[in-house]
């Protein structure tokens, strides 16, 4: 644990380049994601951190090609999953990949499960869509995958309906559906926000074990730096549709180089120590249809300079594995 992030040299499975997703609304064009680039290696966990309106969820939806069109549209950029560009795919091609090669676990276990089908049915459905296998094998695979997510007495629970399970169990089923086709990339969108602390700990441990077992590339979409600290190898911090800082998790925590990251970290109370007074970021997260020119964080930034008001900062390297978009680093 003391070595600074074991150098991950596994092949890159997901590469996102200059992704732009815009929405046409009656207030004008909303640039929800405006030029986002990152990559993800096999077996790596990437955290995408941001508040509401930061674009983290739209990034996730873009990766899954689940942007409602209209009003939304991927305007530019590439999403290369093992070399194939998801942006260029037809809807039909995409639905063959979605769920089988790139899968999603979303935050609300109540709405992501259908209340009128048994859980066995729903997990089986996910398997059948992507694999042409006989019924008996499907049943066997459903049990396997339910056991993988530590559902006790899987043989009897397959017949349960979602309402018969607790929140933690339901979230495990959602996880089971996510991993049922052994995806290469798994995106977890705030998977634990509705769970209690002790259940959350169980679930995070489970996700980590699943990832290590099958060497999945995992993307965590979250607003919580605690989850990042516990789970992630690398972090991308998003603000107003762009990545403002990215680096290895220890770089980010030890040397936050964008004022927003620094302020966020300073504004979170700590369990391990007494803090006299938290740093409080003034103002509100920006509304995307009315962004200031220049750096969108400038109105809330404690280090704001003249230049910040006029020009969006370019990316500056802090180290080999760490960059931030802030004029202070110039």
């Amino acid at each position: 644990m003391t070595t600074s992030t074991t150098e991950n040299t596994s092949p890159v499975v997901l590469q996102v380049d200059g992704l732009k997703t815009y929405f046409e609304t009656r207030w004008g064009t909303v640039k929800a994601v405006d030029g986002v680039s990152f990559n993800l290696r096999r077996g790596e966990t990437l955290g995408i951190v941001g508040e509401s309106g930061s674009g983290k969820s739209v990034t996730m939806l873009s990766l899954m090609r689940l942007i409602p069109e209209p009003p939304g549209r991927i305007v530019d950029g590439q999403i290369l999953l093992e070399g194939q560009d998801l942006v260029q795919m037809t809807d039909k091609e995409m639905s063959g990949i979605r769920g089988s090669q790139i899968a999603l676990i979303i935050q609300d276990p109540m709405t992501s499960l259908n209340p009128v089908f048994s859980i066995g049915n729903q997990v089986g459905e996910a398997i059948k869509i992507h694999q042409d296998i006989p019924k008996r094998t499907v049943v066997q695979q459903v049990l396997d995958v339910l056991r993988k997510v530590n559902i006790p007495a899987a043989e009897t629970r397959v017949r349960d309906y979602p309402h018969q399970m607790s929140g933690g169990m339901r979230q495990r089923v959602v996880g089971a559906i996510g991993i049922s086709c052994e995806p290469i990339v798994l995106i977890a969108d705030e998977p634990t926000t509705s769970l209690d602390v002790t259940i959350q700990a169980q679930y995070l441990k489970l996700l980590k074990e699943l990832q290590e077992a099958s060497n999945i590339g995992l993307i965590f979409i979250t607003h919580d730096f605690g989850i990042v600290a516990k789970m992630c190898d690398r972090v991308a911090v998003m603000y107003a549709g762009r990545i403002v800082e990215m680096g290895d998790v220890r770089d980010i925590f030890n040397n936050p180089s964008h004022p927003y990251t620094e302020a966020l970290l300073a504004s979170v109370p700590k369990l391990e120590e007494d803090v006299d007074r938290l740093y409080s970021i003034e103002g509100q997260p920006p509304t995307l249809h009315d962004l200031p020119t220049g750096c969108p964080f400038a109105p809330r930034c404690q280090y704001v300079m003249d230049k910040c008001q006029t020009t969006y900062p370019t990316q500056f390297d802090v180290s080999d594995s760490h960059y931030a978009a802030c004029w202070r680093l110039e």
Partner: protein, 334 residues
């Protein structure tokens, strides 16, 4: 009291404002449509005792279903306790006369979690904030207006906001409005039920700091209901940890966080997310989930999930032990 004064950690001897003693709330489970029969009792809160001291903050932590919100509702007189007493400045309130109950109501106010549900969307900010004053105080229009303006300034908004409707504000601003409303009758105690957990991360510190500033300014006590331990550590002077309707550990914040003694408290702390990737956490992940309060386990209610379970845990209800003055725990280990 002498023991308390002897201890340097618990020097402050602020008067006890609000005291709960053996508070219980059991909800009947009924069957049948027309002639309903009670088939069982959900023991949401089952004998909790604590004190809220003047100008201090008591935090109640626990997971969903532990009874912390029901406890808050009883203090706010939204639920009648099944058993037990709530005393405000030495006066029992549920058997008090109408005048005393009225006085209690304006002394204890609340701020809830969801700032979208807690402000009536059809009322102007002016009327929202003034409502408790309209009901409880006899003020002229002019005085009322001045106080609304002052309250808005105190919570970091401006007096011109008084004419707007709640939907014109962001989540953090709405929570400020809710706080202004709660303060309007100058209560002695405010119940804060998860006041920041519905807000954006960058807004939470604003609201927590605001609450702490207002505590000094208005000399008000808080009862903070939360599930996030770090928030509790930051804001509270005292902490009570609840599990299945009971308080399992209770003490001064510093003492409790430094010397967490009940296995459940330890488990909660280990399950909480670290603030830095290099923080090593003990592997103490609880198995299973919280049992139903309809049939709580015999003996110690935590024993089915407890890593240190002993024979007597499933038989005997643990006694309350005072480890340090003011720090109590109910567990057979002590």
């Amino acid at each position: 009291m002498t023991t308390l004064e002897a201890n340097p950690v618990t020097q402050t001897t602020n008067e006890v404002l609000l005291e709960a003693n053996g508070l219980k709330k059991h909800f009947p489970v009924t069957k049948g449509l027309l002639v309903s029969k009670v088939t069982g009792w959900i023991k949401a809160v089952d004998g909790v005792s604590f004190q809220v001291r003047a100008g201090e903050t008591l935090g109640i932590v626990g997971e969903s279903g532990c009874g912390k919100s029901t406890t808050a509702k009883m203090l706010l007189m939204l639920e009648e306790p099944t058993e037990g007493t709530i005393e405000y400045q030495g006066q029992e309130i549920h058997n008090a006369n109408a005048e005393q109950r009225r006085a209690y109501r304006s002394s204890v106010q609340a701020v809830f979690q969801d700032p979208w549900s807690s402000l009536n969307p059809r009322m102007r900010v002016r009327d929202l904030i003034a409502e408790p004053m309209v009901i409880n105080l006899n003020l002229s229009r002019r005085e009322m207006q001045d106080r609304v303006g002052k309250l808005l300034n105190d919570v970091g908004l401006s007096s011109y906001h008084a004419n707007l409707y709640p939907h014109e504000f962001s989540g953090g601003q709405r929570q400020r409005l809710a706080i202004a409303r709660a303060l309007s009758v100058e209560p002695r105690v405010i119940v804060l039920d998860e006041p920041v957990s519905a807000l954006d991360v960058s807004i939470r510190a604003q609201i927590m700091n605001l609450l702490m500033d207002l505590q000094n300014e208005y000399n008000v006590s808080y009862l903070l209901i939360a599930h996030h331990l770090a928030t509790v550590r930051y804001m509270c002077d005292w902490v009570a940890v609840m599990y299945l309707g009971q308080i399992v550990e209770y003490g001064r914040t510093k003492e409790l966080f430094d010397n967490a003694s009940h296995p459940y408290t330890k488990a909660l702390m280990n399950a909480a997310l670290p603030s830095h990737p290099d923080i090593e956490q003990e592997e103490m992940i609880l198995t299973g989930e919280v049992p139903s309060p309809l049939n709580p386990p015999e003996g110690c209610r935590f024993h089915p999930r407890c890593p240190f379970v002993m024979d007597q845990c499933s038989r005997d209800i643990p006694q309350v032990t005072e480890l340090e003055p003011g720090h109590i725990v109910s567990c057979h280990l002590y």
